[in-house]
């Protein structure tokens, strides 16, 4: 085998391929992915959403996606860099002249692809229940056939993928910055709690105490990946017009990805002491 054609991006793809194979070969991650998929499909099948159409299903799934996607993303990524550092493979990779951006990019690409496959695939499976379960006549929630289309659900699924990738980037940054497994777990759990409930709770508290004005709500929602995802779903996927500014929310998610990956790149080579 020759690596003559591998430089920069080639290194990224080589590392990504290994990450993908690692994920597929890790029983715990596979089990968690299956549980995620089954849960999403079960929510669709058991709830009233799928019987009402795509938009009601989206509204049914949002809370589950907000809670489960970060869990899945963190499980996939929170030890990725740390494990390589602990095993000494980071040191060895450095002797092969692999750059920090190539390494982090490869890990992110590989694990991100696995995440995309699981999240997108699961949501598509959930969406596939709508034609099966929905009655011929729309329910009161699906008032407009044009609004309630597979396209809306597809937009939701794409946004869920973007949300998952944002949390995965943060988990990767945790993995690169943490020096011990315990530290990584603590940071990951802390971030999960902060994303799922912390930022929202802080925003509500800010509004209640009038520290935050009503004008600051869109920005506050965009600050956390969960809030940004919710804003995007309500503003872009189901188009209710509520939930803040989609532009700010999109910028928030992309910002998390960029900042988190930058942190991962900067801290990836930090030695274990």
């Amino acid at each position: 085998m020759s690596g003559s054609d591998l430089d920069g991006f080639g290194d990224v793809f080589a590392i990504a391929a290994r990450e993908l194979r690692t994920v597929v070969r890790t029983p715990a991650v596979v089990a968690l992915s299956v549980v995620f998929g089954l849960t999403v499909v079960a929510v669709a099948a058991a709830g009233s959403g799928a019987r009402g159409g795509y938009v009601p299903l989206v509204l049914d799934l949002v809370p589950f996606v907000e809670a489960l996607v970060p869990l899945l993303a963190v499980a996939l990524c929170y030890r990725a860099v740390l494990s390589d550092r602990k095993s000494g493979e980071l040191d060895v990779l450095r002797t092969f002249d692999v750059s920090r951006p190539a390494y982090v990019g490869g890990v992110y690409l590989g694990r991100g692809l696995a995440l995309v496959f699981v999240v997108f695939g699961s949501l598509l499976a959930a969406g596939a229940t709508v034609p099966v379960l929905s009655p011929p006549d729309p329910t009161f929630l699906a008032l407009n056939e044009a609004a309630d289309s597979p396209v809306a659900f597809l937009r939701f699924s794409v946004l869920a993928v973007l949300f998952a990738l944002a949390v995965a980037a943060v988990a990767l940054a945790v993995s690169a910055a943490a020096r011990t497994a315990r530290q990584a777990i603590a940071l990951a759990v802390g971030l999960l709690v902060a994303f799922v409930v912390g930022v929202d709770a802080a925003a509500v508290a800010g509004l209640a105490s009038e520290t935050l004005g009503i004008d600051a709500v869109p920005l506050a929602l965009a600050v956390s990946p969960n809030g940004a995802f919710r804003s995007l779903v309500l503003g872009v996927a189901v188009e209710t017009g509520g939930g803040g500014s989609p532009t700010a929310a999109l910028a928030g998610l992309v910002g998390w990805v960029v900042v988190a990956l930058a942190v991962a790149v900067l801290t990836a080579w930090r030695p274990v002491e």
């Binding site: 085998m1 092969f96 002249d97």
Partner: protein, 268 residues
């Protein structure tokens, strides 16, 4: 504090009689092609208040085998990591002979680890993607005695086999310099002999080898130079026989004990 070692004749490397390893050990400039394969100059490093290296310099010629010996905690692994360029010292420079392309230093860490779930062959094939040359993975496994374990998962390898796979990984791409941290650790006597045989073959092929080891018998028989490191300084550097004779010992094991004990007595 001086780091002048116990002075011994420093013989020319076996395969590079015309190499003057002192001439190129200066600044961070890349050594000339006929100079040392790797040159470390004035390396100093501390972990907090503990100074693990104190201004050491080491130059290794192509085809030369240099063995670092010293008590635990003497700074051997730290020095080897600097030579492998996986960590930067607080002070000093490391220059490798050929910096063109993706030339690298092959490195065997003290505790080599691998991604679980992959076979030995998978593992080497992964690393082979990062070198410019074609890599005969089966040949590398054969070279380190793991041909029969090519399809075995790395997490099912014994400790000794894991170390041999680490050696194979270090050899991927045929680097001109190989740095081996305790390569014989955990190996049975037969494997130790085999490993030092591989090291000799590497040197015969012109590869500069720097290794650390507590197996002083094979070191004495195989190394062109022995560098005794204690307290972050070189306390002896030379041909193994010269090091042994310098302290009136009968073998390297005894000489090592005398050298380290002497340093401790002097209150360095």
């Amino acid at each position: 504090m001086t780091d002048e070692p116990t002075t011994m004749p420093n013989p020319e490397p076996a395969t590079t009689a015309e190499t003057d390893s002192d001439e190129s050990t200066g600044e961070a400039a890349v050594p000339a092609s006929n100079g040392p394969a790797i040159a470390a100059t004035d390396l100093s490093h501390a972990f907090g208040d503990v100074r693990v290296l104190d201004g050491v310099s080491l130059s290794v010629a192509p085809g030369e085998i240099v063995a670092l010996v010293g008590p635990n905690g003497s700074g051997k692994s730290t020095l080897l990591r600097f030579l492998a360029r996986v960590r930067a010292p607080d002070e000093g420079t490391v220059a490798v002979g050929s910096e063109s392309g993706r030339a690298r230093v092959g490195y065997l860490p003290q505790q080599p680890g691998f991604r679980a779930g992959f076979t030995a062959a998978d593992t080497l094939e992964f690393y082979a993607q990062f070198v410019d040359e074609d890599v005969d993975v089966a040949g590398v496994l054969e070279r380190v005695g793991l041909a029969d374990a090519a399809d075995r998962r790395v997490d099912a390898l014994s400790g000794g086999m894991t170390r041999l796979l680490g050696l194979g990984r270090a050899l991927v791409g045929d680097p001109a310099v190989v740095v081996l941290d305790e390569p014989a650790s955990g190996l049975d006597p037969g494997m130790v002999e085999r490993l030092f045989g591989i090291v000799s073959a590497l040197a015969d092929a012109g590869v500069a080898v720097v290794l650390s080891s507590h197996n002083l018998g094979p070191v004495e028989r195989t190394a062109d130079r022995v560098v005794v490191l204690d307290g972050g300084r070189f306390v002896a550097d030379g041909d193994p026989r010269a090091v042994v004779e310098s302290v009136g010992a009968t073998d390297l094991q005894t000489a090592f004990g005398d050298l380290v004990a002497t340093e401790e007595v002097t209150g360095r």
